[in-house]
Amino acid sequence: MKKLINSPADVLADALRGIQAAHPDVRVDTENRVILRGEPTRAGKVALVSGGGSGHEPMHGGFVGRGMLDAACAGEVFTSPTPDQMLAADQAVDSGAGVLHIVKNYTGDVLNFEMAAELAQGEGIRVETVVVADDVAVQDSTWTAGRRGTGTTVILEKIVGALAEEGADLDAVLALAEKVSGNGRSMGVALTSCTVPSAGKPTFELPDDEMEVGVGIHGEPGRERRPLATAKEIASMLVDPILADMDATGPTIVLLSGLGGTPLIELYVMWAEIAPLLETAGVSVERVLVGDYITSLDMAGCSLTIVKADEEMLRLWDAPVVTPGLRWGA
């Protein structure tokens, strides 16, 4: 394992110090490992709290700021944060208008946020929860923990963050969050494994001439292993299962995210192949993001997310956002 770290045990604490040093607009509560906006929550504004295992940067800490999250709880690498961290975040950002927990559908995240919501409610903070489960690689059946939450989370945090910034109440914020979540689908592909620092070696073995299709954001294996293909062929492997699962005709917001180990030039090669496929299928891509937004440490590969969007969602998408990882219009 070759990594720019001091020791595997210190990765998170050291990274939080770096985030604090690089971004004066955010404040890091190092004791509770919560990343907060520099300014306290405006009275009457619904607060958005998200979080999850670290290693997916810039998600979630990179999306804390005006127009997006109020706080993000950072777990250990690929490990969900704990309820006391989330409670500390809720207490820090609740202005009396309540808190929305944005949770990706992983057993650990769901269980810990569930316990945190109980604790916060016990202290008189109103908490609602949206669970993102958008990964079409996973069968959505009663026989699994349900679909994983991936790229739709980023788009949801942006759109719903803008609505909360406008002063909408918690019911309205929750309703939009559920709508965005229901409208999103994702699919990923990995060309290499990632290496979790505390494990010290790649999570899975993947020969040079093979790839893992339908991979998750933690190096958990995907739908199937196939011989390495061209960008053009891979584009279909990402687009087809998504379109098979949703009616994506009409306006959409699309995210093509690298997984941490893929250069931007390859993501653009991929987008050059994906864009015409979507156009042919009648999908109208109104907005697109290409880059590293939800990553998997050093994994090579990418994930594609398509969210059906109406006029209001597009308007909220375009609203100003000022965060370390996403910034426009301000």
Binding site: E76, N112, A145, V196, A199
Partner: protein, 210 residues
């Protein structure tokens, strides 16, 4: 031996912590195969945080609360809330009496496991820690019904847990991150069942030595 005391329970947890350390790499490797490669390091981090809290707990109830809260706030993942709930419920059921007979300790273990089932909504056969815990509880109760003391009950429970753990190999996971693999999760030992077995083996080792 006659009854299990708070001191015995402290020794149990200390032994569990050292077994987790010993098997940390193995647990993480099991988790790499079907999960996200963090079970060993998470449990080790949690148990290292638990050790300094043991001496301050005067009763089984205090001990369960201290261990449970520490695990919930340090482990993360699914294991934090699940093991945390186990110890919180176990302590609650064991109460403030410093002398637990085999039946009382069995009931406390059962309360802990019921908490895990409630929190994780898993059933036997889902390829989780429940697959080690369930046969262990049955073996404990059977031993007690046959007149066994806690030492023999723990011996029987540890053996049954190990068998339950090994029986997770062919199962297809239906809970947790391994469930995303579907059929590909078959052929691997479940890391949660492996750590749960270590918990019962630690109890066996401790009671046998006391």
């Amino acid at each position: 031996m006659t009854d299990v005391t708070t001191a015995d329970l402290r020794a149990w947890i200390t032994r569990f912590a050292s077994l987790i350390d010993e098997h940390q790499t193995e647990l993480t490797e099991l988790d790499s195969a079907i999960g996200d490669a963090d079970h060993g390091s998470n449990m080790a981090r949690g148990m290292h945080a638990v050790l300094p809290k043991l001496d301050g707990a005067a009763t089984p109830a205090d001990l369960g609360k201290a261990i449970g809260m520490t695990l919930v706030s340090t482990v993360g993942g699914a294991s934090g809330p699940l093991y945390g709930t186990f110890f919180l419920r176990l302590g609650g059921a064991a109460g403030a009496e410093d002398a637990l007979d085999a039946a009382t300790l069995g009931a406390a273990l059962r309360a802990g496991v019921e908490g895990v089932v409630q929190r994780g909504k898993a059933e036997p056969g889902d390829k989780t820690m429940i697959d080690a815990f369930t046969p262990a509880l049955q073996a404990w109760d059977d031993a007690v019904a046959g007149g066994a003391d806690a030492v023999s009950a723990a011996e029987a429970a540890a053996t049954a847990a190990a068998a339950g753990r090994d029986a997770t190999v062919p199962l297809v996971a239906r809970k947790g991150r391994a469930s995303y693999l579907g059929e590909r999760s078959a052929g691997h030992l479940d890391p949660g069942a492996a750590s749960a077995t270590l918990l019962l083996e630690a109890l066996r080792d401790t009671l046998a030595a006391s």
